[in-house]
Symmetry: C2
Subunit: 406 residues, 2 copies
């Protein structure tokens, strides 16, 4: 994140912005002793916006949230991990509603102001006998330092917490945007993410909040691919409660650009963290396509390379197989002239004008041995660019996903 115009807040997350509380508790949905129920709560009515899965099969929680965010206002989100509450028939929607009713009752707020997200196995009824006591405990545990517990409670196969927050000045006030995310498998472009929640104490018009969220998702979660699968439950929610004071940020109004950029920076951080923590991953792959004829072409090519299982396996094997890079760009649907393309692995130029170069294999191997493998593809046909993130494909990915449900 070099050159950022924002100040990262050390240890920041979903409760860093003023007026947000959160908690995460262990209710026994996932594994004994693992946190699996989280609540995020705003002390005041917040503007809300959401980006949801494009999967035809949508969890009841997604359908409920899609309906509720239309009001533009929300107060709380209840989340569980360990069970997706999807493909459970009418019972699924009943249980999703019951989770929000329970949360609303305990908080003394309207049921319609509570959103609900679930993540985990599909097609198994939600164990409400454990979830309801979990919600009670979580509401009781709400605190301004509860962001970390919440981030932990939404994890499934994640190996690391994903939290981030930045602050910036506007009209002499400090505004904060913070968030958390979970998700390491089943993440693919054109999806929001698995689950991500962003909170801010800025006052933001709900319509503009949605506009910013779509902008941020297109440059962050929608540019991440772990395994090409898109979940039934993927959800990105933003809550803006205005408790830092100041005028409402609207499209074209004061602070609109800086707010949009702060939201995007938080989302990019979380998306990169998800890619790095892809199931079984040992490396983050960052693919930057530059000088593309259009942003669409840049995005298509970047995502295709970051998603290529052949290239991902080559990165795992530290094989500087740039042929797989140009091949994946080629089948992406992006328009470009293959005979113009230059390709770099880190600082090592491996192809120029669509042809292989004799390059230093040791230097390339050193790039591939790194924690983050950067790929630069110069299409030399325009001015647009895009960045996509992925991870290597490893034995561990196969192990995790060959034995997840059981």
């Amino acid at each position: 994140m070099s050159g950022s115009k924002f100040t990262a807040v050390p240890g920041g997350g979903v409760t860093t912005a003023v007026g947000f509380k959160a908690s995460g508790v262990s209710a026994g949905v996932k594994y004994k002793g693992k946190k699996d129920v989280a609540v995020v709560y705003s002390e005041r009515d917040a503007s809300v916006a959401g980006v949801f899965t494009t999967n035809t099969v949508k969890a009841p929680s997604v359908l409920l949230n899609m309906e509720r965010v239309k009001s533009g206002k929300a107060r709380a989100v209840v989340v569980n991990s360990g069970n997706a509450n999807t493909c459970n028939g009418p019972r699924g929607m009943h249980d999703a509603r019951a989770m929000t009713a329970e949360t609303a009752g305990l908080l003394g707020i309207a049921e319609e102001s509570v959103l609900v997200c679930s993540t985990g196995v599909i097609g198994q009824p939600m164990p409400m006998d454990r979830v309801v006591p979990g919600i009670r405990e979580a509401v009781g545990a709400l605190s301004e330092s509860g962001g970390r517990d919440a981030a932990e409670a939404i994890m499934t196969t994640d190996t690391e917490l994903k939290e981030y927050a930045v602050s910036f000045e506007l009209d002499g006030r400090t505004l904060t945007v913070g968030g958390m995310a979970k998700g390491s498998g089943m993440i693919h472009p054109n999806m929001a993410t698995l689950l991500s929640f962003v909170t801010t104490d800025a006052a933001v018009d709900p319509g503009f909040l949605k506009e910013c969220l779509v902008y941020a998702a297109d440059r962050s979660f929608n540019m991440v691919s772990i395994d090409g699968d898109s979940s039934t439950n993927d959800t990105l929610l933003a809550l803006a409660n205005g408790m830092a004071g100041g005028g409402e940020i609207k499209a074209g109004g004061k602070g609109c650009d800086i707010f949009r950029d702060a939201l995007t920076e938080v989302c990019v951080f979380l998306a990169r963290a998800m890619a790095r923590d892809g199931e079984g991953a040992t490396k983050l792959i960052e693919v930057r396509v530059v000088n593309a004829p259009s942003e669409k072409d840049a995005r298509l090519a970047a995502r295709s390379v970051a998603s290529s299982t052949l290239f991902k396996a080559a990165v795992f094997g530290r094989d500087a197989n740039w042929g797989r890079i140009i091949c994946a760009a080629g089948y992406s649907g992006a328009q470009f002239n293959p005979e113009a393309v230059d390709i770099f692995l880190g600082s090592v130029e491996v192809a120029r004008g669509g042809q292989g170069l004799p390059f230093d294999e040791e230097a390339a191997a050193a790039v591939l041995a790194g924690d983050t493998v950067q790929v630069l593809i110069d299409l030399k046909e325009g001015k647009d660019e895009a960045v996509a993130w992925g991870c290597d494909l490893t034995y561990e990915y196969v192990r995790i996903n060959g034995d997840y449900r059981t």
Copy 2:
């Protein structure tokens, strides 16, 4: 292939049809002692049709073939494995042409009547000093029993030969359609295949041959996915030399349906064999979508499930995780009502009306332990259906592709 109206020819392949010769020799392009140069030759001018990769990055050989098949006639195909001759700059096209010129000169036929296919690593110059002597040896070795050697010479990471032939009667004559294929990685829907060659002694109008080839590819190679990557070199060619005698088969004319179906049956056999031999695969996955609102929806859903890395990994792990099936159908773009869907693994019904059923886990595990895992998805919304093939995702896939080039 139960209920086929065709007679399989035992040991049949690309030289089973009358008037075709082939050979496969070791020229040292691949590994020492492995066959890597093949020639297929028709004693007479043959009608020709091709289906080629949709990748923006196309091998020079593909571009050359696309041009040459426009004449509708061809006599021979020269093929090498071990080097894709792609991304080699102007030298690539020069070498591709030189391979056809060499073959044509030795056979005493026009250079334009020879097609060329290459498969292997991208971005390394073709070792013409080894390929040219290989072509000489291959032309010298042409024989009516050379189909098997040719099928061997086109293999890369394939572990098994892929050949098939069927015969049928038309107007008292026996007509034969035979073919061979290679390809186990980099195979994906909307591609022809890696490489496949079909020969027939039927007389077929070139335009109708193309029509039949597209029809067959859409129901065979385009319904196979190994890893989602589409190669720069994928090519399916058909040659029809008419040497069995009889009138020319044309669109709407006598024998047109049976010929189209015979060609399709050969292609389906080869496509299934490719899926089963997917890199590192231990199982063939066959996904049948029935009662879809349209064939397009059926195809989209079937291919998406057969391509899902999460489902492929679950099959490897023998995990009856049907949630991944409905999820993959859901993000496929197919239109259907998730609450209507029934899903079977083999004969075990695992979901009905979009909800999980209590099923016999042992029976499901037995299905997943089989050599071929059949998935049936009943969308209950129409009359159309489609079948797609894939394979499980294994540790071995990661090993092979983490260390292919080096």
